[in-house]
Amino acid sequence: MRKIFVDYTRCVACKGCEIACAVEHHPSRSLADLVGDGRTQVNVRVLAVEHEAFPVSCRHCDPAWCMAACPAGAISRDPVTGAVILDQARCKACGMCAMVCPFDAIAFKVTHASPGGRETAFKCDLCSHRVREGRLPACVEACHSGALAFREHEEVRRDRATRNLREYLLGERALPDTFALYRELRRKEFARRGEPAP
């Protein structure tokens, strides 16, 4: 199956992926409607790890730990895209999935898909509805720095991939000068302030 790979050395923390994801998963699909909407669902987070920025989301493990742990039958695999899908309508927010997800890719809140205004778990759905139509996941399409890529994941590495994030890191391409400069500045800025960059 195709999965999302990350080259964090290219991530400039612009958070374009977060915004594209929020729009894609908003009932109105409109950027303007995100403003002040507490139920907005963002399935990718750009984490600040010291001077690095790291876009984090579900890795669609196979077998998936979360799926085996969900006692509500809320997590299943999309037969076409292979994505691990969390159906918020069936979710009870019991936390079993989040307890075992090795990538801490599951969060909780009241979203537009939560039934009865109750908190539910939510996570990346690989934009399965887009992928079925031959399009890219919204975050990948929105990433202009090349930090996210949607590509075939080797079947033979399946088992390691349920545990090891390095399976999803890209790094074989040389970094352009502008990126190298940007990274150096961020590192310096981080060292100066002694706190995580945004």
Binding site: A68, A72, G73, C94, M99, V100, P102, D104
Partner: protein, 405 residues
């Protein structure tokens, strides 16, 4: 080949579904003491809190039809012997292979209490539908839960969510005593009482139930006081339902393929299995273990191979509230603790590896911790950073470091 299951719960349903996924086309009969499609006990408290009953049928209400199963419901198995099972009604079913998965049953301090209208267990969907009916029919506003372990607290939260005034009576000095050490448990107990308004009576037991016209009126406590209530839920512990197979209630010992003997597999709350990390045999009565055991047993039946990697005792209570209590492993070794007003986190280290942990209040980095624990990765240097990690970046910090840039 004809396959029979004793029980139609989590393990039995997962077993049957795996058999069919593995291509098994033979006859399957599921025998259950109750009359429902397979249900998830973890989810049924939400029914009591107001969700539709169907949401407890986690594999769908059409399970028996969909998987081509003959259900024999509402008739408990009382004996398994030499390729046959006998039920309470006297019916006999023969089998070539059996999955024995009747789970566990409530253990009541005083079995006679159950004769009083208004006293219930909290173990089966039959219990919960009866409680629901009682609340609706008599307009119950008040409930006492005897037992503050996982199931007792689960019951308390469901009824609290429904709007009842709830008191939990627990003999230990903290709730969830098996999931916590003393300090963590007291922290969790305080959080629960403060955030929900559920009344907690610790180091206390219910000694007697008092009926008026056959219906519960009040309960007496060890401290000499009593509480007027029309509803008492008894959740003081469970016993594996191994009697019909082994003649004793110690659980069912199985081999690495979950076999009790060459024709009988056992899985779920009734099975005695080794712990995945330290190998100690025990009853690890949790949903994910029941599922994994059922899958291993079913694949073994079809393919004749496969071994169970062991059970995990990681559990989380996060129902109707947004402050989870997570715990796994043994609370032995060197404790490392981080806490603030809303959160308590503790890891027990042994030989530099995680031996057990507790997280109260939130779940940031819970999954990463779970993995370090399961894989027994040397974690001494990482743990303190992990404990104070409020953003959930620990894993990625390590990945970035390891990537060597």
């Amino acid at each position: 080949m004809k396959v029979v299951t004793v029980g139609a719960g989590v393990a039995a349903a997962e077993f049957v579904e795996t058999l069919r996924n593995e291509g098994f086309r033979g006859e399957i009969v599921m025998i259950s003491a109750e009359g429902f499609p397979p249900y998830s006990p973890c989810v049924m408290p939400f029914f009591l809190a107001g969700d539709p009953l169907e949401t407890a049928y986690w594999k769908g209400a059409d399970f028996y039809d969909r998987l081509g199963v003959t259900p024999r419901l509402g008739d408990p198995v009382v004996e398994v012997d030499d390729g046959k099972v006998r039920t309470a009604s006297g019916a006999v079913e023969t089998f070539d292979r059996l999955l024995y998965a009747p789970g566990s049953k409530d253990r009541y301090p005083e079995p006679s209490w159950l004769g009083v209208h208004g006293v219930f267990g909290f173990k089966t969907l039959s219990d919960l539908t009866a409680i629901d009916r009682h609340i609706r029919e008599t307009g119950v506003r008040r409930a006492v839960i005897f037992g503050g372990g996982f199931i007792g607290v689960d019951a308390a939260l469901a009824l609290w969510h429904r709007g009842l005034q709830v008191t939990v009576v627990h003999r230990n000095n903290r709730l969830l005593s098996r999931m916590t050490d003393e300090e963590g448990g007291k922290f969790a107990t305080r959080l629960l009482a403060e955030r929900t308004g559920i009344e907690v009576r610790l180091e206390t037991r219910v000694t007697a139930v008092n009926a008026r016209d056959g219906a519960l009126a009040s309960v007496d406590l060890t401290d000499g006081t009593w509480i007027e209530t029309p509803l008492l839920i008894v959740a003081t512990g469970v016993t594996p339902e191994s009697g019909p197979l082994t003649g004793a209630d110690q659980g069912v010992a199985v081999d690495e393929a979950l076999r009790f003997d060459p024709r009988v597999y056992a899985a779920g709350d009734v099975a005695v299995t080794p712990h995945a990390v330290d190998g100690r045999p025990g009853l690890y009565a949790l949903f994910p273990n029941a599922v994994e055991q059922a899958r291993v047993a079913a694949r073994h039946l079809v393919r004749g191979e496969g071994a169970y990697p062991g059970s995990v005792d990681a559990n989380v209570l996060r129902k109707h509230v947004d402050f989870p209590v997570v715990s796994a492993g043994r609370f032995e070794g060197e404790p490392l603790t981080w806490q603030d007003a809303d959160r308590f986190r503790r890891v027990y280290l042994k030989d530099g590896r995680i031996n057990g942990y507790m997280l109260v209040g939130d779940m940031a980095a819970a999954g990463y911790l779970h993995r370090l624990y399961l894989e027994q990765t040397p974690a001494e240097r990482e743990v303190s950073g992990l404990l104070s990690d409020t953003a959930g970046t620990s894993y990625y910090r390590r990945a970035v470091g390891l990537a060597g840039r």
